[in-house]
């Protein structure tokens, strides 16, 4: 009888799991039945989602990826929004490098750039928290704060009616994250590392947003035009199907494209 106790207990546990388990899900569904507007609602991944995989694949030299200068504010609102995105992405790189001084500098720069687009108030608490948590070397919490800063800035901009400018913050962050991803994979190519570039829905989402800008001045902005061209250039290089092998030369080309556009965003001539 005692022999059966573990079996009985297992059966009870299994029963309990089933009673709380998800209502049965079909093994496959027809995605085309869902309206396009619904599936278009994309949450943009933060750079650390990609960086965590790179950490598992090897030992990237994160310090070498950090920029010495965070870029210059030209006063052009589109440039400032894009620059802010790249600076927040830099925060995620500094966290990977566990460079608390750099993280603190970035936290302060986020505040300066947020002020330039009238959303300083939204990130004061985040900036303070980034400094405190970087001093304590609580890297996981610093990551959360940078993610939060990104969302707070975007939400504050949307509240001000600057939805389109808010998109540029996300795009700036994505471009800088992709530049670093391709830089690391180029230095030590692996198919798994290159596969991280397969982000078709995200590229289409950004392209759609930029193509549909209602603010014509923003749509004609030199940087926005350049980014549109960059995204169109990247799209065919990331493969057509899930899991398709992305060759090393494509990784290099994407790195060149993103490096050029990041240089344009961070220079004062923008």
């Amino acid at each position: 009888m005692t022999k059966n106790i573990p079996l009985i207990l297992a059966a009870i546990c299994l029963g309990a799991f089933h009673s709380e388990s998800a209502l049965s899900a079909p093994e496959s569904i027809d995605l085309s039945k869902f309206p396009a507007a619904e599936v278009d609602n994309v949450v943009v991944p933060v750079p650390s989602e990609v960086f965590s995989v790179l950490d598992k694949l090897g030992t990237p030299n994160w310090r070498a990826e950090l920029r010495s200068s965070l870029g210059k504010n030209s006063g052009n609102r589109a440039q400032v929004a894009l620059l802010l995105g790249t600076v927040i992405a830099e925060g995620f790189i500094a966290v990977e490098a566990e460079d608390s001084e750099k993280v603190k500098d970035i936290g302060k720069e986020v505040l300066v750039l947020a002020e330039a687009i009238n959303v300083r108030k939204a990130v004061i608490a985040r900036s303070k928290s980034i400094t405190e948590k970087a001093e304590a070397k609580n890297w996981r919490s610093v990551r959360t704060e940078f993610d939060g800063a990104l969302q707070d800035v975007r939400a504050a901009m949307e509240e001000l009616g600057d939805d389109e400018l808010a998109q540029l913050v996300s795009i700036g962050g994505w471009l800088r994250g992709t530049q670093v991803l391709t830089s690391i994979v180029s230095k030590n190519y692996s198919a798994d590392g290159a596969e991280l570039l397969y982000q078709p829905q995200l590229l289409d989402y950004f392209t759609k947003r930029l193509d549909g800008l209602k603010n014509t001045r923003l749509g004609k902005d030199e940087l926005v035009v350049k980014i549109r061209k960059t995204l169109a250039g990247i799209r065919p290089l990331i493969g057509k199907d899930d899991g398709a092998k992305i060759p090393a030369e494509n990784v290099d080309r994407i790195n060149k494209m993103t490096s050029e556009v990041i240089a344009a965003i961070t220079s004062k001539e923008a």
Partner: protein, 141 residues
């Protein structure tokens, strides 16, 4: 004059109400995600949200990376509602390795075999209300 004021105020009020219940649903989604924070997952600050009628479904799109693990967590503010969440790959095949459902909360674990686009399908199975607010957050490690 009153009609004009109402036409301005009413949409604003409806929008505020919609935001309010999505915000409440969000706190339940975070409650569903809490156990995974203790297991080393980082919960994203960004989220999806909306409202659905009973038996209605909605798909949300996520870019997932092979090498990470993801927990998707769904919550609703409606007491006695039953909501479910399941994750499918870009071919429409069930991609989750584990899932659970407890009344107004649900969760699904995905360990992507490929980097690419995945879809979280949200369903309101039962609800005492006509429209049920929902929110989904995800955590990764």
């Amino acid at each position: 004059m009153l009609k004009k004021t109402l036409s301005v105020l009413l949409p604003a009020l409806l929008l505020a109400t919609a935001y309010a219940y999505v915000n409440d649903a969000l706190s339940f989604a975070h409650e569903a995600a809490n156990p995974y924070v203790k297991k080393g997952f980082s919960v994203r600050e960004d989220a999806w949200g909306g409202d659905l009628g009973v038996k209605d479904q909605q798909a949300v799109t996520a870019q997932l990376f092979k090498g990470n693990e993801y927990w998707f967590c769904l919550g609703t503010e409606v007491k006695n509602a039953v909501v479910t969440l399941h994750i499918y790959d870009s071919q429409g095949k069930l991609a989750e390795t584990e899932s659970w459902q407890k009344g107004r909360l649900a969760g699904a674990l995905v360990v992507p075999q490929k980097t690419g686009t995945y879809y979280a399908i949200i369903t309101v199975d039962k609800s005492p209300q006509e429209r049920t607010g929902w929110a989904v957050v995800y955590a990764y490690k």
